[in-house]
């Protein structure tokens, strides 16, 4: 059952990811990215991380993608939807770079000495309680620093939005 679900989610994620980078309309790109994010959330559930999956859907599909769609609508990018592709050298370079990157990843995986199946660990391990326990004891300082980061991001966004240009 789990392998079938894995291949289903993987196929959806890869297909919609490719559709995202080839579609010329940014709104469809955003919608395909949401589909990819949902597929990845499904994989998180398969990997025994329900809290991460829920936060993933709430934060990414719920908040970040709404922000993306809002900005796309706000900017009225109709004139931007025409085919825009980089010219010869940059296109060749991008294909070479991504090909080398992917070849490296595959070679690295094939070079592994052992390839054990995923351990069937403790089923409680992905729960909200466990993550909260760890987050508020061992990772308390990084957690507090994220609050400062978010505050500075809010202030920066507000200043950028209120900026008088020229």
């Amino acid at each position: 059952m789990i392998p079938i679900l894995f291949f289903l989610f993987a196929a959806v994620a890869i297909a919609s990811g490719i559709m995202m980078i080839v579609h010329r309309n940014p709104i469809y790109c955003a919608l395909f990215l949401i589909l990819t994010l949902f597929a990845v959330a499904g994989l998180f559930v398969l990997l025994n991380a329900p809290f991460i999956a829920a936060v993933h859907i709430i934060v990414y599909a719920g908040a970040i993608m709404v922000l993306f769609l809002f900005v796309i609508m706000l900017l009225d990018l109709k004139s931007e939807t025409s085919r825009q592709r980089p010219g010869g050298l940059l296109r060749i370079l991008s294909i070479v770079v991504s090909g080398v990157l992917f070849a490296e990843l595959v070679l690295f995986l094939r070079s592994g000495t052992t390839n054990p199946p995923l351990v069937e660990g403790d089923l409680k391990i992905g729960s909200t309680k466990e993550i909260g326990n760890l987050l508020f004891t061992e990772y308390l300082l990084p957690f507090e620093i994220t609050s400062v980061l978010l505050l500075s991001a809010i202030i920066g966004s507000v200043i950028l939005a209120k900026l008088k240009l020229k």
Partner: protein
């Protein structure tokens, strides 16, 4: 299910994100590709978290999400500011930092 399946999927998604960043000219779509790369890394972290039966990977995913949210807020504010200045989000026409 060996962990290499998840790592391979994560590599494919990361490569798709790299191709998007390198080939698209629209700044917003480039941002989305960066989100895709962050997601690929999150998948790796959760897979290793399960493999080693330790929660630290999932905590890192949490922090990656926080940083991604902050980055998107500031980045989209920048894109809106640039659009107000230059009337475009195509990175070929945004060359104000060019030497």
């Amino acid at each position: 299910m060996p962990i290499s399946y998840y790592l391979l999927l994560s590599g494919i998604l990361f490569t798709i994100g790299v191709v998007g960043v390198l080939t698209r000219r629209n700044a917003i779509v480039i941002f989305m590709s960066i989100e895709l790369m962050l997601n690929a890394v999150n998948l790796t972290l959760v897979a290793f978290s399960k493999q080693f039966n330790a929660l630290d990977g999932q905590i890192f995913v949490f922090f990656v999400m926080v940083v991604a949210a902050a980055e998107v807020a500031v980045g989209l504010a920048l894109i809106v500011a640039i659009f107000r200045l230059k009337e475009t989000v195509s990175i070929d026409k945004i060359n104000i930092l060019k030497w």
